[in-house]
């Protein structure tokens, strides 16, 4: 199982510093990265995936710098899901998921039975086998999101970096994805940026980013984490115990 870590990462565009000396260790299990809009969550994920070069600091995978790895090896070990489903084009769902195997069989070789099995397993896990031959553009937002998630799973990478994996999903499917991440957490390192705080509290650990700085990392069931969350969102939420679990409730009682 793999450990991803960030060491004093700094990244900015021009005068704007998006990430300021962010360090964290992302151990095996499920870590949710949360924070207000513009906190730098997606940027942190991109840096961890090796898609961006930090201005200072390093992202490391099991001690090795992520950017020092060969591109194909990095692709086999780290899988990244984009925040917005940018997918265009004429591929059907199965062909899209098969793209996840590129890191294994390469650009030129034909997929093997092993690749097909991985694609089947990935589509089953995200419940999109029923429309595997439908064109991606014909699917609804939620259906497409599940196909893109299957694409990530098909890579069989041990580290999964998911930027808002529950976008467009209705509650039953949000729950299904959360359950999937819980299952994967026992064998993978799952890091997901989530806007959905109730889902985030289902993770093992919560990492809070605000204004490019990391202001908290801790276990999701720790009361101090809950206090830090309320603080990070300026009291717009309350966290209460309900049915033996911590629940996030929007707090509309403040001044208008």
């Amino acid at each position: 199982m793999s450990t991803l870590s960030a060491h004093e990462l700094m990244f900015g565009y021009g005068p704007r510093q998006v990430l300021d000396r962010v360090s964290c260790a992302l151990d095996p299990g499920w870590t949710a990265i949360v924070g207000p809009n513009g906190a730098g969550k997606s940027t942190l994920l991109r840096l961890l995936a090796g898609l961006l070069r930090p201005q200072q600091g390093t992202a490391r995978l099991d001690g090795e710098a992520v950017l020092a790895l060969a591109a194909r090896e990095r692709a086999r070990r780290i899988a990244w899901l984009a925040q917005q489903g940018e997918a265009t084009g004429e591929l059907d769902a199965r062909e899209t998921v098969q793209l996840g195997r590129l890191a294994h069989h390469g650009l030129f070789a034909a997929p093997t039975a092993v690749d097909d099995a991985a694609v089947d397993a990935a589509m089953q896990a995200t419940e999109c086998s029923a429309w595997q031959y439908r064109r991606l553009g014909e699917l609804s937002g939620g259906e497409r999101q599940r196909v893109l998630l299957a694409r990530v799973l098909a890579t069989e990478a041990r580290v999964l970096l998911l930027d808002e994996p529950t976008t467009h999903l209705d509650p039953p499917h949000q729950v299904a994805v959360a359950r999937l991440m819980r299952r994967l957490a026992s064998t993978h390192t799952v890091v997901s940026v989530l806007h959905d705080l109730p889902l985030a509290l289902l993770a093992d650990r919560v990492l809070i980013l605000r204004d490019g700085r990391m202001c908290w990392q801790g276990r999701s069931d720790d009361p101090s984490t809950h206090a830090a969350l309320v603080d990070a969102f300026d009291g717009a939420i309350r966290i209460e115990q309900f049915g033996g679990r911590a629940q996030v409730v929007p707090d509309v009682s403040g001044p208008a």
Partner: protein, 352 residues
């Protein structure tokens, strides 16, 4: 069970992706190519006249007419269309834009400028070397100039975009190069107005000059460009996920993009140097393939080349036959047909 039920814009051929369409399209294209080839050998200066055809073939000039003029021209038209169709499919995949055409990265602008410069030089140089020699030089020079100009235009675009790192930068650089070279070309024709007529002919496109030499050259070009492009087609598939997602799959995107741009330049340069700036074929061929038989790029590249070949041959046959013994510039026909297709698309509310 599913979330919002709002699928993307409907296609005229709605429904599950039907993989059998892919084979069907190729069969239809092969049949159309065969039929049009026969038409291409039959239609001549008297249009589609049956008696003219019989007398042409029965006469002692048959070998010359068919073998030296109609056959190379027919094959040449298919090869030009094939190269443009391939170029269009590469451009649309690379730029992730269904309205891209192979001329977008400076190839057309560069070729047109080079042609205008040679024409201007030939017209003013005629006084020194004699008009026949100047005309021959002009003819030879035009083909070379157009090819070199096309490649030069793309090189300039790559230089301005600082390589093939970013798609948007590439596109913008192509637009800038197009505008700049267009302006320079206009400047040259202002100074040497004799070149204007030749430039017009080039810009409209013509299949009239396609001999066996052209056919051989273009066949070689297509035989090189198509297999290489198909080999890297999965990279274009990966790009449909988005640039960052494609990069996360371990692909060396900048290098492959550069290679694909080079193939695009080669295919387009060959086509425009032999037939001028034929409009719309590069845009419409891949479009038609993707609407009827959506598929990964390995298929789309081949089918687009085949569709382009059939489209241009059809336009060529029409161009020769419609107002016989006169010939319409083939570019006029492709513009009318291509423009008509786009108009139809607009009216269908189906801009998927």
């Amino acid at each position: 069970m599913n979330g919002d039920r709002a699928p993307a814009a409907s296609l005229p051929f709605e429904g599950r992706t039907d993989r059998s369409r892919r084979a069907r399209l190729l069969v239809v294209l092969a049949a159309a190519a065969a039929a049009l080839t026969i038409c291409g050998l039959v239609v001549g200066s008297q249009g589609w006249s049956w008696s003219a055809w019989v007398s042409d073939l029965a006469g002692d000039q048959a070998g010359l007419i068919v073998g030296q003029i109609r056959l190379p021209r027919t094959l040449g038209a298919m090869l030009v269309g094939g190269l443009l169709g391939l170029g269009g499919a590469i451009a649309q995949g690379l730029l992730r834009n269904p309205l891209a055409d192979p001329y977008l990265l400076g190839s057309a602008a560069g070729a047109a400028l080079a042609v205008v410069v040679v024409l201007a030089a030939a017209s003013s140089g005629a006084d020194w070397v004699g008009s026949t020699t100047a005309a021959w030089l002009g003819q030879l020079g035009l083909v070379m100039a157009a090819f070199v100009g096309a490649l030069g235009g793309v090189l300039l675009t790559l230089a301005l975009a600082r390589g093939a790192q970013h798609t948007l930068r590439l596109l913008l650089a192509g637009v800038v190069v197009g505008v700049l070279m267009g302006a320079l070309g206009d400047l040259v024709t202002t100074v040497a107005p004799d070149a204007l007529r030749g430039k017009q002919a080039f810009v409209l496109g013509s299949t009239g000059f396609l001999g066996w030499g052209s056919v051989g050259l273009m066949a070689f070009g297509l035989a090189v460009a198509l297999p290489v492009a198909v080999r890297y087609a999965r990279c274009l598939d990966a790009l449909t996920l988005g640039e960052d997602s494609a990069a996360s799959l371990g692909l060396d995107l900048p290098r492959v993009r550069l290679l694909l741009v080079a193939l695009l330049a080669l295919a387009t340069g060959l086509a425009v140097s032999q037939a001028g700036l034929v409009a719309f074929v590069g845009l419409v061929a891949p479009h038609l393939v993707k609407r009827y038989a959506p598929a990964p790029h390995g298929y789309t590249l081949v089918a687009s080349a085949a569709t382009g070949a059939v489209l241009l041959l059809a336009a060529d046959v029409l161009a020769r036959g419609l107002v016989a013994p006169q010939e319409l510039p083939v570019g006029v026909l492709t513009a009318v047909l291509g423009g008509g297709y786009l108009l139809w698309l607009l009216n269908r509310r189906a801009l998927g």
